[in-house]
């Protein structure tokens, strides 16, 4: 149950990709007939991505190597190309590192960064957003829904506030794009990051939606592919697979998400109910259908993961002990958890192959694991209050 870390590629997407590796390997940018088939496939995939998010035209979709590149292109591309609009960039304290780090990087290049706080559920405080927005704000970048705690942000309301000050709104929809319907037009989104693998497409593929008329400086300069915004020969098999995954997502998202939401709620209840000092991270209802994030006091996340791993369950944690930096997740700290609480977090992300029996299996395992680790731990409820 660690689907957020990686998903299997949808078999129908693999089928769609195969011809573009075996026989139709033409370069979409060439002129001969052989390459025209590649060009058509490229544009068909672009159309499917545009349709998924109700983009005004297919030309507003730029293919990238994934969400990290899309976020970098949006943030650095807008900031560098629109200095005349201002040098302030506003984002939240629950963003993915591929938003956090480009924004931090820009502060070394003369830009000013504001990281807005969130409430205990991880929802952005709109009043703060209004206060921090000024005439020098070029860009506001907010995650559609956080991948760690699942909280869905009020994008429509955010958009109204941002556009009231004439700034651009970039939305990182990496975790959300395969699970909840997104409409860039009606929600007022100027730039949107999409990830292929998060909708069961191949890894190493993503896209950035850029509203018509918005100027963005490219990250890669070269042969001028993707209207000059992303040079480099197109990864045609990847693009075709991504397009197919987007088409399937559009058709099947509703029923998949309904099923996932039921599993999610069963799992959350089953993980929390039997144990004292067990809590939910993130919002109880404004939540991604696949996301379960809980925490247990007095024990540490990695030892929970190891215990689950021994029983064949793969999960994830916001604990420092599972990270490269030895710091607990910044998202868990941003929702107000103390370090020792963040260490006790457990994240399970569901996928369309999970079934109720698996949910029940995990629910059955958890009390034993938590009780055993608590028996090993020197911490008690007394320390929790101190």
């Amino acid at each position: 149950m660690d689907y957020a870390a990686g998903k299997p590629v949808e078999p129908r997407a693999i089928e769609a990709m195969l011809p573009y590796m075996k026989s139709s390997y033409g370069n979409p940018s060439s002129l001969h007939v052989f390459s025209q088939k590649a060009k058509r496939a490229l544009e068909e995939a672009r159309t499917k991505i545009a349709e998924l998010i109700n983009a005004e035209s297919t030309e507003s979709i730029v293919f990238t190597s994934g969400a990290t590149e899309s976020n970098n292109l949006a943030i650095k591309g807008i900031a560098n190309r629109n200095k005349d609009r201002g040098t302030r960039i506003i984002t939240s304290s629950v963003e993915h590192m591929s938003v956090v780090n480009p924004v931090k990087f820009l502060t070394t290049k003369g830009f000013e960064a504001i990281f807005l706080p969130v409430d205990k559920f991880g929802s952005l405080n709109l009043e703060n957003l209004g206060k921090e927005l000024n005439d020098k704000t070029a860009l506001v970048s907010i995650v559609y829904a956080n991948g760690e705690i699942g909280t869905i942000e009020p994008i429509r309301e955010i958009s109204k506030i941002v556009h009231g000050k004439n700034a651009y709104l970039h939305v990182d929809a990496t975790a959300a794009c395969g699970q909840i319907p997104i409409d860039v037009k009606s929600e007022g989104i100027d730039l949107l990051t999409l990830s292929s693998n998060d909708m069961y497409g191949p890894k190493g593929m993503g896209a950035l939606y850029i509203k018509e008329g918005i100027r963005v400086e490219p990250l890669l300069h070269g042969g001028g592919q993707e209207r000059g915004l992303r040079s480099g020969t197109e990864n045609l098999p990847g693009i075709v697979g991504f397009g197919k995954a987007a088409e399937i997502t559009k058709q099947e998202m509703h029923s998949n998400s309904e099923g996932l939401t039921k599993l999610r709620d069963n799992l959350i209840e089953g993980l929390l109910k039997p144990l004292p000092y067990a809590f939910l991270n993130g919002h109880p209802t404004k939540r991604l259908p696949d996301n379960v994030s809980v925490r247990y006091s007095f024990i540490e996340g990695e030892s929970m993961l190891l215990s689950l791993d021994m029983m064949g369950v793969f999960a994830s944690s916001g604990s420092a002990c599972t990270s490269k930096t030895l710091e607990p997740s910044h998202v868990l700290l941003a929702i107000g958890l103390r370090h020792e609480e963040a260490h006790g977090s457990l994240m399970l992300t569901l996928g369309k192959e999970n079934i109720q029996e698996e949910v029940e299996y995990v629910i059955g395992l958890m009390p034993g694991i938590v009780k055993r680790l608590r028996a090993i731990s020197p911490l008690t409820p007394k320390e929790l209050k101190e």
Partner: protein, 127 residues
């Protein structure tokens, strides 16, 4: 990621628990960092006749605590003071590099427990 030996000690830690009438108690680490361990010792004729631990932390923290108590049990206080983090990690067949500093604190907890015993009994801390 972990050796079989580490997993063995994580699954079935040795000498787990507390000693209510311990002769020495040592606590190191901090729950804020994600690792906290307490070691309890019982001393007779200058030897560690009983030793127990409690640990909050990752798999490596639990395994190193268990191994430390195994290595220390029955040793004289002088021998136990010489027991190092490297001895513990070595006996477990090694630890991932990132865990060497943050989670390998049990030898320090043992030394702290022995110093506590020396203090309580008015003896000089021997190196």
């Amino acid at each position: 990621m972990y050796t079989e030996k580490v997993m063995e000690h994580f699954k079935n830690p040795h000498n787990l628990g507390e000693i209510p009438d311990a002769d020495g108690v040592g606590t190191v680490g901090n729950p804020v960092c994600g690792d906290l361990m307490t070691i309890y010792i019982k001393v007779k004729d200058n030897r560690l006749v009983d030793i127990k631990f409690k640990t909050f932390g990752c798999g490596a923290a639990i395994a190193t605590s268990s191994m430390t108590t195994d290595l220390a049990k029955g040793k004289t206080l002088e021998e136990a003071m010489k027991l190092s983090r490297a001895d513990v990690a070595g006996s477990l067949g090694g630890l991932p590099p990132v865990k060497m500093h943050c989670s390998n604190l049990a030898a320090d907890a043992l030394h702290a427990a022995i110093k506590d015993y020396y203090q309580k009994t008015g003896r000089e801390v021997k190196k």
